[in-house]
Symmetry: C2
Subunit: 205 residues, 2 copies
C-alpha cells in the first residue's frame, strides 16, 4: 500500500482515485474546490482523505488530475511543497476540435511542468491515453508512460501494476509529446467507429 495524492476533483481524479482505493492505496484528494474533494473522498471511502490545496501532499506519487491549461499554474502554486515528489501528468492538451494538440515538440505539458516544478520533483506522463471510463472499469489494460527519472518511472510502474495495469515505458520525457498525440489518436479512433470503451494496447506477438 502506498499513499497516493491526487490534485483535482474531476472525472479523472475520481476514476484514478476509485481504482487506487479499491486496490488498497491510501488516497488523498487536494482541490481548490474543497467541498468537491470531500464529497469524492466520502464517496470512495476506503480511508480516502482530503488534504489542503497547496500544502505538502502526503503521497510520494502526486497525480495532477487537472486540466492541461491549469497544470503549470498548480505546480507553481505548490512550489517547494512538491520537492522530492513524483508528479504524474495525465493531461491532454487538445485543441478545440480534438484534431491536434496545442503543445509543440519539446514543450509538452509534462516538459512545461518539469520546468516549473521544484528541483527535486520528477515528472512522469501517464494515464493520458486511457479514458477515465475505462480506468473506472477496473479491467487489465496497458498504460503508456514516459519520463526522465528512472526512479520516478519505476515508482509509477509499480503503482500501475498494483492497479492491475501493465505499464509500458515509452522513453524519456520528450516522448510525452508523442503521448499527447496518442491521446488525439485515441479520441479519433473512439469517435470514428471504435467507441469510447477502447483501450490502447501493445500486444506482444
Amino acid at each position: 500500500m502506498t499513499t497516493i495524492s491526487i490534485i483535482g476533483s474531476g472525472n479523472m481524479a475520481a476514476a484514478i482515485g476509485t481504482r487506487a482505493a479499491k486496490h488498497g492505496h491510501a488516497v488523498e484528494f487536494m482541490s481548490r474546490n474543497n467541498a468537491k474533494a470531500q464529497a469524492l473522498a466520502d464517496q470512495i471511502g476506503n480511508g480516502a482523505t482530503v488534504g489542503t490545496f497547496g500544502a505538502r501532499p502526503a503521497g510520494g506519487i502526486v497525480i495532477l488530475a487537472v486540466l492541461y491549461s491549469g497544470a503549470v499554474e498548480v505546480v507553481k502554486h505548490y512550489g517547494d511543497a512538491l520537492t522530492g515528489k513524483t508528479l504524474v501528468d495525465i493531461t491532454n492538451p487538445f485543441n478545440v476540435d480534438a484534431s491536434g494538440v496545442v503543445t509543440t515538440p519539446g514543450n509538452s505539458v509534462s516538459e512545461q511542468i518539469a520546468a516549473a516544478a521544484a528541483e527535486d520533483a520528477h515528472v512522469v506522463k501517464a494515464f493520458n491515453t486511457i479514458f477515465g471510463g475505462v480506468i473506472a472499469q477496473d479491467k487489465p489494460t496497458d498504460v503508456f508512460f514516459a519520463g526522465d527519472s528512472a526512479e520516478a518511472k519505476s515508482r509509477v510502474a509499480a503503482f500501475l501494476e498494483s492497479l492491475g495495469m501493465r505499464p509500458l515505458d515509452a522513453g524519456g520525457l520528450k516522448m510525452a509529446h508523442a503521448l499527447e498525440w496518442a491521446g488525439i489518436l485515441l479520441v479519433g479512433l473512439a469517435s470514428n467507429g471504435a467507441g469510447f470503451d477502447i483501450a490502447f494496447g501493445a500486444e506482444l506477438l
Copy 2:
C-alpha cells in the same frame, strides 16, 4: 482478390507484398530498382509481377512503400498515372534519433502527398504504426488508418480485413499527423523494454 500495386522494393514492400500474395491478391511491384523488384516478385511468387516505375499501376490500391523523404517526388513523377487510385501512405517521417517527426500538424506526409497527387487520387495513411516484421508474421493485428475519402478508406479497410487485420478508422487525413506520432511512440515502446515484436491495438473492453 484484388490487384495491389506496391511502389518500392524495400522491407515494407516485401512484408506487405508477401502478406497480400499469401492472402490471394495479385501483387505488382514497381521500383526504380527494377532488378530488385523482379527479385522480390520471384521470391514471393503467387503470380506477383513487376510493372514499370512511373507507368499506370495495375492495382486500384497503390501502396507507396518508399522512404518519406522521397514519397512526394515519386507521386509527382507518376502524375496523372495515379488518377482514380487509392494511395496508401505508410511512411514514418522520423527525425534522426526517432524522438519526433520532421512534419508539422496539417502538413503530414499524407497531406503533402494529397496536395501533390492527381486530383482524383485519394490518400489513406495506414501501416505506419506496425512493424514490417510484425506484418510478415501474418498474425491478426489492428491497423490504424486515416483519410478524407470514405470510398478510399472503405477500399483500404476491405484490403486490411482480407489480410486478417482489423482496420480501425482514426478519422480524416488531418489525423495522419497523429499516426506519424504514433509511429514514434511505437518505436519508443519497442526500444524501452517492450521489444520489436509488438503491435498496437485498441482493445474493446
